[in-house]
Symmetry: C2
Subunit: 366 residues, 2 copies
Amino acid sequence: MTKPSYTALAASLPASVPFVSPDTQQRLRGEPYRARLGANENGFGPSPNAIKAMADAAPECWMYGDELSFALRQALAEKFHISLDNIVVGEGIDSLLGNLVRLLVEKDTPVVTSIGAYPTFNYHVAGFGGKLHAVPYKNDHEDLEGLAEIANKTAASLVYLANPDNPMGTWHTGTAIMEFVDQLPDGCLLCLDEAYIEFAPEGISPEIDVNDQRIIRFRTFSKAHGLAGARIGYGIAHTELISAFNKVRNHFGVNRIGQAAALAALADDEWLDQTIAKVTRAKAIIADIARDNGLTALPSASNFVAIDLGRDGEFSRKVVEYCDQKGIFIRRPFASPQDRCLRVSAGPDAELQLFAEVLPQALRAC
Amino acid sequence: MTKPSYTALAASLPASVPFVSPDTQQRLRGEPYRARLGANENGFGPSPNAIKAMADAAPECWMYGDELSFALRQALAEKFHISLDNIVVGEGIDSLLGNLVRLLVEKDTPVVTSIGAYPTFNYHVAGFGGKLHAVPYKNDHEDLEGLAEIANKTAASLVYLANPDNPMGTWHTGTAIMEFVDQLPDGCLLCLDEAYIEFAPEGISPEIDVNDQRIIRFRTFSKAHGLAGARIGYGIAHTELISAFNKVRNHFGVNRIGQAAALAALADDEWLDQTIAKVTRAKAIIADIARDNGLTALPSASNFVAIDLGRDGEFSRKVVEYCDQKGIFIRRPFASPQDRCLRVSAGPDAELQLFAEVLPQALRAC
């Protein structure tokens, strides 16, 4: 039996998954987590209106969704005072990252990111044969100066920046980001991942200017809106770039129930405000837990907190593992020296209480 | 403001959508269709168990789905007596087609399909720079001999075949398809789209042999299971090919509610049997409507019927348009000479009744 004729690029790629999901981890450990605080999911849940919209949409699921996500894009356009043509909706930011990379990256195209930043971006760059240049963090912040320097040195086509940052929760101001963009070489696009922006204080997101062809920003319903499982992300950019997604995207990839859920969630400002307040409170609790154990919590503009364990990555790995065995799902950054930290997602009190109980045991045992 | 640096391929592609959705068509006409019979959706709807599973999963949507679709793949593996490692789940067959093409097709890779077959496949081939060779239908069937001939002549890497065929509803036997595979050149993969297979009689699908590296088959929950909006398709093939999807797929692209819905639908054989019976009955009604208007309905192994209008594509276009204006959504094949037909999806009696009323008016008016 003859084998399929893979492309040289496909043959060269590893079969890899950027992340193992909490569901998979649970299955492998044989029982559910008592506290699910490791994937920056939003344990406060989606708006009841979104839940109702999903239940209402269920019997209508025999119909294909709207390949244009028209109603959702219309609502987003109104919210941001831009045109529908400045917005693309996709199956989570992950999908949009893949399409963006596909539009800009081919064999050996130089691309810049930070060491230990979002691995799914790296996965897509590798998947299209790009050459990734990664810059170390500086004081637990993505290093704008360092990123711009390498982008110029390599004449990069694409730079990835998450603001607020994941996995550290740190941030730059919108002003600093626009100064950064000014320093990028001609024809270099900033991919600004704003997955956590709803949790950030004012002034962290550069003002939206869809005439600026140097930036695309990605946002999502997975975090503040509590709809990670619905798979709805969106991109905001110049019409020309947004239109280019129609060259490569899976037009019917977005599910009908997710579209209904996102639309309902977007209209429920009150729930969003409550969620942000709950997350702020939960982050303070996590910081208290850290302090009670003689540890430092990094300030965070996201829905998670990095707790500095003050030791090496081997130690944090053991602490994460210990917590896992006790039913507490948390994670830690992938790369050194950020991997000296734990990364704990904001969640309901009961789950944080369990973390508060297990953490001191873990610190003693590891 | 500098523009992004698109790849040469991306710059050369048109921003196109293979299909305009019924939802978009409805929006553009300003009111809902009275009969939605044009997209081969399943108007008999999903299993009540699937609807309940979706409603139950809605509050859990704050959690990411399982990137492995483990439970669903396990259930499918049991059903087909194969391993989980022979199954990949994706955001509809469309998504899996895109990933398959990406694995096998690069600039100028020869690929073979039929003229007027599934346009989304063509979209993906163009999107990765492949060179598509298209063979005419023969007596309203995809022409296996012609496809094999061109595949050999061009040393194609990939051949697309839908069985049962869309848009004609015709079919080949499993035996004929395996003889066809034997005639393909070394290293040529058959992409066998079995989206409609549940509606087909016995003997139409080649026996599943996952040791055979020359075939991948795609199936879906969009048609017989009535879950088009949930976006759950799957591929069955040799473990090596299935594993290769993990090199390129959007691991978290499948939504959590869709996973729950598909699992529940798969377990409800009784609903599936009822659906198939309803579809069989509806197809007979459509054939009766054709006959009552002096027209011929083609035999169909799918959930739709091609009605031969016996004239040219311009006439059928007018008939489709007339029906559309009267609130009856139907379609017709894209390519000549198949475009002499209407394509009408099986649906509830009330909708077929409306079609029965409007068709004779359309035939008179056009």
